[in-house]
């Protein structure tokens, strides 16, 4: 088990500031920015979330030194499970080198001085904004999602009191009404991201705005999956090897996106592709959204 996994398991916290000895984390901050009481509170919420897969646990979300919508929930979850021995990878839409990923990685380097990586298999904690890495994850890894709106029923039923009741009583007919409406309007289920899933046969959960291409990867994933929504003050989780079922109709089964093209950089034909506009003449190319996977694939090919 990694340090991160141990921390999530409520071990006595050893992450006192050790910065003075070596170059270390910025001594002006507590380790991983949050104070120890806050981290304990968040770990309790995570444990509850793991115990009830897919259930949204309310927690006292703190103000973070970044705006809402930048992953304040994911950052708080990562901050409360990270230890000095962890190796962190941060991705934004699959890429390691975009603004959101770079800022969050720098934030953790400054406040914890942990080692960072772009290689999926070397990381013990992967914080992600809206993608799951293409490479399969293992049991000693934790995937942390940044979630904007955790409530899958929110746009169908605006009352929080009512959606909580619907979760408690398992009244999920409304979710299928949305899919029905999709088919009626478009001829197929047109929801492509934030595709609702049923976790462990009970709670319906919003897998954050990941493309539905990633939904099958959540099913019985060996890694622990944690979801943090900072503005909405909710944490939820999928424990390792948990059944995650994407909702569908008998005569309109769940399907993932497919492309006629393959990646123009690495040539992979089985990955999630981004369409990149290259000029104003209608030129465009399709490339892997997972930059680490694309690089590896390319290196292997050479």
């Amino acid at each position: 088990m990694t340090q991160a996994a141990q921390n999530a398991g409520m071990q006595v916290d050893q992450s006192d500031v050790t910065g003075e000895a070596k170059a270390g984390p910025d001594p002006h901050y507590n380790f991983a920015y949050l104070d120890e009481q806050t981290k304990r509170m968040i770990r309790r919420a995570i444990l509850k979330g793991v115990a009830i897969p897919g259930y949204q646990v309310p927690f006292a979300s703190r103000e973070m030194p970044m705006p809402y919508g930048w992953g304040t929930g994911g950052v708080q979850v990562t901050a409360s499970i990270i230890g000095p021995d962890d190796v962190l990878k941060v991705i934004d839409q699959g890429a390691d080198d975009t603004t959101n990923a770079v800022s969050i990685r720098q934030f953790f380097v400054r406040t914890t001085d942990v080692e960072t990586t772009t290689h999926t298999e070397e990381a013990s904690i992967i914080q992600t904004r809206h993608r799951i890495p293409e490479q399969n994850l293992s049991e000693d890894q934790i995937l942390v999602y940044q979630v904007p709106i955790p409530e899958p029923l929110r746009f169908l039923e605006p009352r929080e009191s009512e959606t909580r009741k619907m979760h408690a009583l398992g009244e999920y007919g409304l979710m299928h009404v949305k899919l029905y409406e999709d088919i009626a309007t478009h001829g197929h289920i047109a929801t492509t991201y934030a595709y609702p899933v049923k976790v462990n046969g009970h709670y319906i959960m919003d897998p954050s705005p990941t493309p539905k291409f990633d939904n099958p990867k959540m099913h019985r994933m060996p890694a622990l999956q944690l979801f943090g929504a900072g503005r909405e003050k909710r944490i939820y989780a999928i424990p390792p090897h948990t059944a995650v079922y994407s909702l569908d109709f008998e005569d309109h089964p769940f399907e993932v996106q497919q492309w006629e093209q393959s990646c123009e950089i690495c040539g992979a034909g089985d990955t999630f592709l981004d369409e990149v506009v290259t000029d104003d003449q209608g030129g465009r190319m399709f490339v892997c959204s997972d930059s680490d996977h694309c690089n590896r694939h390319q290196e292997a090919a050479e």
Binding site: K165, L169, G173, V177, Y180, F249, E250, D251
Partner: protein, 264 residues
């Protein structure tokens, strides 16, 4: 869902000494009645006489202060609806019961198509085949005299009368045994009212529905209901067969109510 084969030993709904007050003000006092399978009971009275409060209490939307409301469940057992768990009550509400609001906007989801509105209850009880759900939705649109070709249209493109019929279809799709109707024809113009009443009457007969109908319109009560209950100031002042009450009212208030219908 015929009730013919059930022996008429027990009423479908039995209300005993129901009372509900808001603060010190009593909205309903000592209301008792039985509703038998296949029977339609009209509750009439002026505004503020406690009709709607009564309807909300017996449909478990409002907790009552005193009294019992017993419902004959499908397994043949009379149960007090306020002793049911919330899950059971909500399940009843979307399977065995229907509620027709005066304003169809309260009873419909205005953001999804007509078909999805009818589909909601089917899906809630476990239907997961798109083709079948859609077929049933079209069938029900036909039954309430809506054009099945408009199954994908949003309810806000429908006229008031059509929305009301859609609301009725949405409620009837799970074959409920008991309907609560709160002024189902209020706010519609007279010719549309007549058509809707005609439709309601034929559906109610065909499906052997029981219904509690709240209205201030005695013509609606006359046309639809078997029995009538006149309320004033939260109390039932007269009850009896519809024709009997309307033709020979006994209580001074009922007499006033009947005589105040404007002659055409």
């Amino acid at each position: 869902m015929s009730n013919h084969d059930q022996p008429l030993e027990q009423p479908l709904l039995r209300v005993t000494d129901l009372a509900k007050s808001y603060g010190g003000h009593a909205a309903c006092r000592e209301v008792s009645f039985d509703l038998w399978p296949g029977e339609i009971l009209a509750v009439v009275g002026e505004s503020g006489s406690g009709k709607t409060t009564l309807l909300k209490c017996i449909s478990a939307q409002l907790a009552c202060d005193d009294g019992r409301i017993e419902y004959l469940m499908r397994d043949g057992v009379m149960r007090d609806i306020h002793s049911l768990s919330e899950a059971e009550r909500r399940f009843l509400m979307r399977t065995d019961w229907g509620f027709v609001h005066q304003n169809p906007r309260e009873g419909l989801r205005m953001r999804v198509s007509a078909g999805a509105n009818i589909a909601e209850r089917m899906i809630a009880v476990g239907a997961r085949n798109y083709g079948k759900i859609r077929g049933t939705a079209e069938d029900w649109m036909d039954q309430v005299e809506l054009d099945p070709a408009r199954v994908d249209h949003q309810p806000n493109t429908f006229s008031g009368g059509m929305q009301q019929r859609l609301q009725i279809a949405r409620n009837l799709v799970t074959h409920p045994r008991l309907m609560f109707m709160d002024e189902p024809t209020g706010g519609l113009d007279v010719s549309v009212q007549a058509r809707l009443l005609d439709l309601l009457r034929s559906l109610v007969t065909k499906m052997q529905l029981s219904a509690v109908l709240v209205t201030h319109d005695l013509a609606v009560a006359r046309l639809l209901s078997h029995r009538i209950m006149v309320m004033q100031g939260g109390e039932v002042i007269e009850t009896g067969l519809t024709d009997q009450v309307l033709d020979d009212p006994q209580h001074p208030y009922s007499q006033m109510l009947v005589s105040s219908i404007l002659p055409v």
